[in-house]
């Protein structure tokens, strides 16, 4: 385990997968789509951060969270608060009763900036908050649940409850949060307009870069001993416990990683939509994120990216052509995928395309000597 060379970390199929994904996201899409469509793809990719985290938590760790929207939302709100404060300079808000505070506070008769908002004047603090607030919350939830050995369905229900609570809190405290309207009308980032086409390109590529950082972290986790322990826990939690591992700590860790990924995704969404809304925090969007993950394949971190991307593209295309039909189509798609391909798109690839690709790679000079499996990983089957 001590020497973690690239060939230990990735099979040649993994390398091929990463390269193909990078080509699609960095070359094919930017060259073939106009800036508005690319911006849409960027927003869909923000959900990929969540689904990659779900692969770790759910696919590997067996922890089904139906509340990832909480972390996505917190990340998005943390950045939106910073951007909103910047957009609410006294000059921009001179028509308000109290200039210098966000417009929705003024509508709600709040006359000074709440203490909770004060630190979000600082960009550094906001960046930290994007990562830390959701991660600390995930830690607290994980600590409270996993140390008490709450798992499975009960854990899923509790995460749902938490996402419901947070939605009610955000909508109810509209003077402090923007309520059901969300935080709208974000304009600049450190004085730089985020509404230009140029900014859309920049955010797209920053988003893709961050997504690859998350993908590499996820790849590292799945191929490390930690990943093996997660899989073992998913199968036989008690045996792992009896072998002397503190099961709860591993679960807490992977749940926190999933939360941090989701938060980065939420922040990238805020940047690209210039808007954050409680409609991402609730139960329905959280479950939708699980659907993206299931469609992509809950055991494949790359599959999760395609899942988030394709379901959303599908939704947009169908929504634009047949507004009344897309909900039904989406439901059918999910039922179909789960019944016919329980391992999602990645499962379909493994079954039908992978052997052919493998034979092809045997002949490719670059990959011939790259191991087709890493030192200790046979394909992991769902239990």
């Amino acid at each position: 385990m001590s020497n973690f060379s690239l060939s230990n970390l990735m099979t040649r199929q993994d390398v091929l997968g990463f390269v193909v994904l990078a080509l699609i996201l960095l070359v094919v899409l930017p060259l073939s789509l106009d800036v508005m469509r690319l911006n849409q793809v960027g927003k869909y990719l923000s959900f990929a951060f969540v689904t990659v985290g779900l692969v770790l938590c759910w696919g590997y760790g067996g922890i089904l969270s139906l509340g990832q929207g909480v972390f996505y939302g917190l990340g998005g709100y943390a950045l939106a608060m910073f951007l909103k404060l910047e957009a609410s300079s006294p000059e921009n808000t001179s028509i308000q009763s109290t200039p210098g505070i966000p417009d929705f506070m003024d509508w709600n008769q709040i006359t000074e900036l709440p203490w909770l908002w004060e630190p979000f004047h600082s960009f550094g603090f906001s960046l930290l908050a994007i990562l830390l607030v959701p991660t600390v919350l995930a830690y607290l939830i994980g600590f409270a649940m996993f140390k008490r050995r709450v798992s499975g369905v009960y854990f899923a229900i509790i995460t749902q409850a938490i996402s419901s609570i947070l939605t009610i809190l955000i909508i109810g405290q509209q003077g402090y949060t923007g309520g059901v309207n969300g935080i709208t009308d974000l304009q600049t980032l450190m004085g730089w307009s985020i509404r230009t086409d140029y900014a859309s390109y920049v955010f797209y590529f920053v988003g893709v870069a961050l997504l690859f950082v998350c993908l590499f972290i996820a790849q590292f986790i799945t191929k490390s001993k930690l990943g093996r322990i997660l899989v073992a826990m998913r199968g036989q939690e008690d045996r792992v416990r009896f072998s002397g591992y503190d099961v709860a700590n591993f679960k807490i860790f992977v749940f926190c990683v999933g939360a941090a990924f989701a938060a980065v995704g939420g922040a990238m969404f805020t940047l690209q939509e210039k808007f954050m809304s409680p409609s991402f925090v609730g139960i329905v969007p959280s479950i939708e994120m699980v659907i993206f993950c299931a469609v992509g394949g809950r055991l494949s971190i790359l599959g999760a990216v395609y899942g988030a991307l394709l379901v959303n593209v599908f939704r947009t295309v169908l929504g634009e052509s047949f507004p009344e039909l897309w909900l039904f189509a989406m439901g059918l798609l999910f039922v179909g995928v789960v019944l016919a391909f329980p391992d999602g798109l990645a499962g379909v690839y493994q079954k039908y395309a992978a052997p052919t690709v493998d034979r092809f790679l045997d002949k490719a000079p670059l990959f011939r000597r790259w191991p087709s499996s890493t030192s200790h990983s046979e394909p992991i089957k769902a239990s």
Partner: protein, 421 residues
């Protein structure tokens, strides 16, 4: 016309036959007159909108799926009806209107996403859409950035005046003040109880109502309650109402909550028809009564600018056309009528401007009048809202409102009301 002369002077008369020639001449005169009404595209569209020699594209952006679909359906129908009627009359500047419909899916970020598609990809000349304040707030920065024109139909809280929006519904003071004056006098009311769903519109409306009741009318507010959207347990609040015995309950509960609220009010024995207590709502149109049931809300008053039962020739033909197009059973609420005004106001502004360019349409908009509006007569104010009358209707068992009061004058829209903030 020169061609016409050449043909008659040449030997064409014999070869073509007189009848054919007359037809040709007639058709050329027709073409010439049509040309006069159809200015060249390069003139009426200098900013790259989706305008061709015979068509112009507009967008319709409402929720047709999700929780808001029920409310927004009427607006979609009204907008389509108006567009079809305008096309039948020859379109706008000689061009037929083609609409591109997008689904906001009751989800505010989706509204933002679709509006940027309509403005940037489809280059529509105008968008008729949005219903909730949240969806309008979500699309507003996009309309301002890409200079689109939104016709927004819902009565709303005010506090907004965007150069890129024409507000065809009433803002809060227009809807509320006259209604409160009327009920205070008519019912000799002294005490009021304010109720609403918990978001910006009811909160702002109640703030304005409270200021008006306390500062202007010199009466008393004895309670104020808010409920989360979708709330269905109103018993504790109804108990408080029974204890405080207000003369008037002023309600701005929205959506599905209404059904539970009025049924529980009814079963708690609060009689709106013969009892001592009156109820004035600003959120229940004929559309909502479909869900509530006329029996449960009979006797309640609503303050709005339009009721389906309005008795005037414009409304008669509008209701008839609407039912012919969308079925005998359809009902028409306040917002549906306001949505119907959108395409007509846009048409009038485009024709006054002689151009589809958004800047010119905006410039031409203030002062635009509509004599044919189902609600009577409306005019666009400098602040992009409509001058309109306020009316009070009394809910009937059959789900319709009987108009019991209307203001003499048009109410001036005042989105930033002094003294009410």
């Amino acid at each position: 016309m020169t061609m016409h002369k050449q043909l008659t002077t040449g030997g064409a008369t014999e070869r073509w036959g007189l009848g054919k020639l007359k037809l040709l001449a007639a058709s050329m005169v027709l073409a010439a007159s049509a040309n006069a009404a159809t200015p060249p595209t390069s003139e009426v569209n200098t900013t790259g909108l989706a305008v061709t020699d015979d068509t112009v594209n507009v967008g319709i952006l409402h929720s047709v799926t999700g929780t808001m679909a029920l409310s927004e359906e009427g607006s979609v129908q009204a907008e389509i009806l108006a567009i079809e009627q305008i096309n039948e009359m020859g379109g706008v500047l000689g061009r037929q209107i083609e609409y591109i419909q997008e689904d906001g899916a009751s989800d505010w970020p989706t509204f933002a996403d679709r509006s940027s598609k309509l403005l940037r990809r489809d280059n529509v000349a105008a968008v008729f859409g949005c219903w909730t304040s949240a969806s309008r707030k979500a699309v507003l920065p996009i309309f301002e950035q890409y200079n689109g024109m939104l016709y927004y139909p819902t009565f709303y809280e005010g506090l907004e005046e965007s150069p890129n929006v024409i507000y065809t519904g009433q803002e809060a003071t227009q809807q509320i003040l006259a209604g409160l004056n009327w009920i205070a006098e008519e019912k000799d009311a002294e005490t009021f109880y304010l109720l609403g769903s918990d978001y910006i519109w009811p909160r702002t409306s109640n703030k304005i109502a409270r200021k008006h009741i306390e500062d202007v009318l010199g009466l008393e507010v004895v309670g104020e309650d808010y409920f989360p959207l979708g709330h269905t347990q109103f018993n504790s609040s109804i108990n408080r109402i029974r204890l405080k015995k207000p003369d008037v309950v002023f309600a701005s509960v929205v959506g599905g909550s209404n059904v539970a609220f009025y049924k529980q009010l009814e079963s708690a024995g609060i009689d709106l028809v013969d009892g001592d207590m009156s109820l004035l709502t600003i959120s229940v149109t004929e559309d909502e009564i479909l869900g509530i049931g006329g029996r449960n809300i009979e006797g309640a008053y609503a303050a709005m600018k339009y009721f389906q039962s309005l008795d005037n020739p414009n409304n008669e033909s509008f209701v008839k056309a609407f039912k012919e197009r969308w079925g005998e059973d359809s009902v028409i609420g306040d917002v549906t009528q306001a949505a119907y005004l959108g395409p007509w106001l846009w048409k009038a502004a485009v024709e006054k401007a002689g151009s589809f360019d958004v800047d010119k349409v905006r410039e031409a908009s203030p002062g635009i009048e509509l004599e044919t509006a189902p609600e009577g007569y409306v005019r666009i104010h400098e602040n992009h809202h409509l001058w309109s009358k306020t009316r009070v209707g009394e809910a009937q068992r059959d789900g319709q409102y009987k108009v019991v009061f209307e203001t003499q004058e048009l109410m001036e829209p005042d989105p930033f009301p002094e003294g009410y903030q």
